[in-house]
């Protein structure tokens, strides 16, 4: 097939990111040509600040060198500025006469720094801060001259000031308003920042209007203000803002309005021409940070690759300042507006300030000064629109104060030494991660997981890895708001669920065809999720696809590190009879089970069973009335109980029987993640019901119902749902809650994060307030159970799925 021709103008961060995304999904579709006005291959513009400060070198910040283009068959024209687009003949033309034809064109021309229109702005020594050339000029000035004046006290200006200060210059920052970074900080944080920077030796001239730059022999010598004051200046850096670079697009008659106007698939008014990055105006907004540009890149690449469903719908942005030693974070509506309220923690003397802006129980803005490691977490709550009413009284203290007994992100990335371990599962140190980020040009948490394996196992260090990522890269590389399910699709978990429900899709190929899966066989991350969504949504119609299940669920036992399996029979509500104990002892003896232990879930685990023996072991147990305990599944696990009122001198309710009843009702059901229950006979709570997905605690007048608890890596105590009086109510509420979780949570999301995401008030509305809805959900649960409540072990002992347990062939000597 003849390849289409794709030409890109502008070799910057947004453009090349688009090509990277495109090559990942459609490597052979286009013959690609790139024009860049700069003499360098692709580098990380953001890191010019640490380069200026002498903390990194140009070599450190290259993202893709010339070899990369060659390896991917891309024709690269460096140092060639495109000055004309001929839309009729579909060609672009560079200053030096080079030209290229296109079928599709990407404009990624970035933006131009705005130069104040004051006399003297063309003198030598007056520059902006945008590219490698500017940094070279500044470094050079720092070795030969003394006085630097930065005009503009925003992010860029302060980073330039810091860099030049580090290089030994006397630095003054001129700012026309009274507050530095007034577009990211409220006045309190702004004043704290100014004080900190003054302590570092910078001078500030705030509320000043520049009138003229005064020169001598063609080079700048001083800056004069409207009030007559004059300060010496051998170098003037203008950092007063940027303007989308639309010159080329406008000259070709493409509609621009403070940016090249694009639609949600990043196409301009000429549909063959895409625009991307800082040069575009999307729904009236031009972005100046990389996170949104990368989201655009993804959508643009998808559209170029002719995959349908990606749309860019705009971004919420957040900012950090890359000045070593200063911790600052700002996002969203940081000032607050009508209908918002503020949570404040203010300790200016101690250098700490936190302001969280809430609206309708959701976080809509944040300013953090002095400590910013929770920035990512707040930003996530903002983007996901999490209901924070339940966290409200602890919210200001950050994520680590949410009852985190594990090691979830409590160390501070910045304070860690390189040799400090970050991921305890895979033995990855901070140094390993930083090195991978820098040398391999990683931008996202997924990249870090893939390359270092950090955060790829239990995930408890995810927060820490994100911190290291943002500290190392400086900029804000937050994940897009709605994450696709996996690399096979652009659809999010929620979109997939909705499609399965609304379009009545009942098989994995159906879903993949309807939603345009990029890989026809999917991958080990989407297939199990799809299978779960299908069987939980359409229990009667969808066929359970065992080949899309993880081995434990496919073989109905837990695989062990030596490839053998463990067997955990169900002990209803933790109660046992002599016969059951005898059956377990007999099976262990008969099959030479090497080891047994009582599990943390009140059952007995038989270890080291060979796969071929599983059906016989199960058959033996089935004959004696024992069934699968589903210790291997994203399914109902155990219902733990305490002795309760039958024996215990404090017991007020029969917790053991309630546990048995609950387990008999729910066993065999599949859930987004594992699901555990417990019942205690009185508030002393010996069954630890308050760290279970659904916990029941006996009280004098009946039962207290609790939801969303979790032991494990990150402990979360339950929220109290309500109190009820009868056994029937306990069963109905338990079934309804479980069904709503089954229908609405994302695959691999346990109830704890789910309840936090949707908010307890939401759960209460559905399960407590809406009696009809509750009854209906309970009904749906029971209907699904008509199909799924059976013993998979007994079936297999009788011959189902034989191929799973017998060798294809045994070859002897």
């Amino acid at each position: 097939m003849k390849r289409m021709k794709l030409v890109m103008v502008g070799n910057g961060m947004a453009g090349v990111r688009t090509l990277e995304e495109l090559l990942k999904i459609a490597p052979d579709l286009y013959e690609i040509t790139v024009f860049g006005a700069e003499p360098y291959a692709n580098y990380n513009r953001i890191l010019l600040s640490p380069v200026l400060a002498g903390e990194q070198t140009i070599k450190d910040i290259m993202l893709n060198d010339v070899d990369w283009y060659e390896k991917n068959g891309i024709t690269l024209h460096l140092n060639k500025k495109i000055t004309r687009i001929d839309r009729k003949n579909r060609t672009v033309h560079a200053e030096d006469g080079t030209s290229a034809e296109y079928d599709r064109l990407i404009l990624a021309t970035g933006s131009n720094p705005f130069m104040l229109p004051v006399p003297g702005n063309d003198l030598q020594g007056v520059i902006s801060f945008r590219d490698i050339h500017d940094v070279d000029v500044m470094v050079d000035a720092a070795t030969n001259y003394k006085h630097a004046v930065i005009i503009g006290g925003g992010l860029l200006g302060l980073e330039a000031a810091n860099g030049l200060k580090m290089r030994g210059m006397d630095v003054a920052v001129v700012h026309n308003s009274d507050n530095l970074m007034e577009r990211q900080l409220d006045p309190v944080a702004s004043k704290m920042l100014q004080k900190n920077l003054e302590d570092k030796g910078m001078n500030f001239l705030v509320g000043k209007q520049t009138e003229q730059l005064i020169g001598k022999d063609g080079r700048v010598k001083a800056v004069r203000f409207k009030d007559g004051q004059e300060v010496p200046a051998d170098l003037v850096v203008m950092a007063v803002g940027i303007r989308p670079n639309t010159t080329l697009a406008e000259s070709a008659g493409i509609h621009c309005n403070r940016g090249i106007v694009v639609n949600d698939t990043m196409q301009t008014y000429d549909p063959r021409i895409y625009a991307i990055g800082e040069c575009v105006s999307h729904r009236g907004i031009a972005y100046g940070l990389v996170a949104p540009l990368f989201e655009m890149a993804k959508v643009c690449a998808n559209h170029l690759a002719e995959y349908g469903i990606g749309r860019y719908t705009g971004s919420v942005t957040s900012t950090k300042l890359k000045v070593t030693g200063i911790e600052l974070f700002s996002a969203g509506d940081y000032m607050g507006s009508e209908g918002t309220e503020n949570l404040l923690l203010s300790d200016p003397k101690g250098g700490l300030y936190k302001k969280l802006v809430l609206k309708d129980n959701r976080l809509v803005g944040a300013v953090l000064y002095g400590e910013s490691e929770d920035g990512n977490w707040y930003f996530k709550l903002m983007r996901e629109g999490t209901d924070v009413s339940a966290l409200r009284n602890r919210l200001l203290f950050g994520e680590t104060h949410l009852g985190d007994a594990g090691h979830g992100g409590q160390s501070k990335a910045a304070a860690m030494k390189d040799c400090d371990q970050v991921c305890d599962c895979n033995g990855v140190s901070k140094g390993d991660i930083v090195k991978a980020i820098v040398t391999k040009g990683l931008f996202t948490l997924d990249d870090v997981k893939l390359h270092t394996k950090a955060a790829a196992s239990c995930g408890s260090c995810t927060g820490l890895c994100e911190q290291i990522l943002s500290h190392t890269l400086g900029g804000e590389y937050s994940a897009p708001e709605a994450k696709p399910m996996c690399k096979c699709t652009d659809a999010t978990h929620d979109q997939v669920r909705a499609a399965i429900r609304d379009q009545k899709l009942t098989s994995i190929p159906d879903v993949m065809n309807t939603l345009g899966w990029k890989r026809e066989d999917g991958c080990p991350s989407c297939r199990p999720a799809l299978n779960y969504y299908l069987i939980s949504t359409w229990p009667k119609e969808a066929k359970d696809d065992y080949q899309s299940r993880y081995i434990n669920e496919r073989a109905h036992a837990n695989i062990q590190k030596d490839g053998s399996y463990s067997v955990v029979p169900r002990l209803w509500g933790g109660s046992v009879s002599v016969d059951q104990l005898r059956a377990i002892a007999d099976v262990a003896e008969k099959f030479n089970v090497p080891e047994m232990k009582i599990t943390g879930g009140q059952r007995i685990d038989l270890f080291g069973v060979k796969k071929e023996e599983l059906p016989d072991v199960w058959g033996f147990l089935a004959d004696r009335g024992l069934v699968s305990g589903h210790a291997y599944g994203k399914a109902l696990r155990t219902v733990k109980t305490c002795v309760g009122s039958d024996w215990c001198r404090f017991g007020v309710q029969d917790s053991t029987q309630m546990g048995i009843d609950l387990e008999e009702m729910t066993w065999g059901s599949w859930t987004p993640h594992k699901y555990k229950m417990a019942v205690s006979g009185c508030p002393r709570n010996c069954a630890e019901a308050t760290i279970k997905d659904f916990g029941v605690v006996g009280i004098d007048s009946g039962w207290e119902l609790h939801v969303g608890g979790n032991g494990g890596v990150k402990v979360r105590a339950t929220d109290l749902l309500c109190r009820v009086t009868t056994r029937e109510e306990v069963l109905e509420y338990a079934g309804a809650f479980m069904q709503i979780y089954r229908e609405e949570a994302r695959y691999l999301e346990r109830t704890a994060p789910w309840v936090e995401r949707v908010g307890l008030p939401y759960i209460k509305t559905r399960v407590v307030d809406d009696a009809e809805g509750r009854a209906a959900a309970y009904q749906r649960f029971l209907e699904s159970q008509e199909i799924y409540k059976f013993d998979p072990w007994a079936e297999r002992a009788k011959g189902v799925d034989q191929h799973e347990f017998t060798p294809l062939k045994v070859v002897t000597g």
């Binding site: 066989d521 080990p524 199990p528 080949q547 993880y550 081995i551 490839g563 060798p807 002897t812």
Partner: protein, 122 residues
């Protein structure tokens, strides 16, 4: 069906291990041999592959993994191994020995001498 067949010397013996339908689509079965287990895979396109049933990472049984396209994900720590070459998908490094397969209609034949080039053949 499998290009590596070329390399094989004529005097070696092909063993008939079963038919395509003995192996589920997107599934695998094990052939037990005195030299260790060999996993025989069938993907959705009905291509058949054979690898030593031992992940280059920590020896996980690849036959128990999830199969997608020409790849299997190891059940223990999720390394991805290419079914046609046995080589781990980057950024992981290592390989599981691959074995020549020959088809006669529905019948699957396997050669017990692994293809060259992979240290994980013992």
């Amino acid at each position: 069906m499998n290009a590596v067949v070329k390399k094989v010397a004529m005097d070696q013996q092909w063993i008939e291990v079963g038919t395509v339908s003995d192996i589920p689509k997107d599934g695998a079965r094990v052939v037990k041999t005195p030299l260790g287990d060999i996993a025989v895979f069938r993907n959705r396109q009905d291509e058949i592959f054979a690898l030593r049933d031992k992940c280059p990472h920590k020896g996980g049984p690849l036959s128990q993994g999830i199969i997608y396209g020409k790849t299997v994900a190891c059940p223990l720590h999720n390394w991805n191994i290419a079914l046609d070459t046995g080589i781990a998908v980057a950024p992981d490094e290592g390989c599981a020995a691959s074995y020549p397969i020959r088809m006669e209609g529905e019948k699957v034949f396997l050669l017990l001498t692994p293809n060259e080039g992979c240290p994980n053949s013992q």
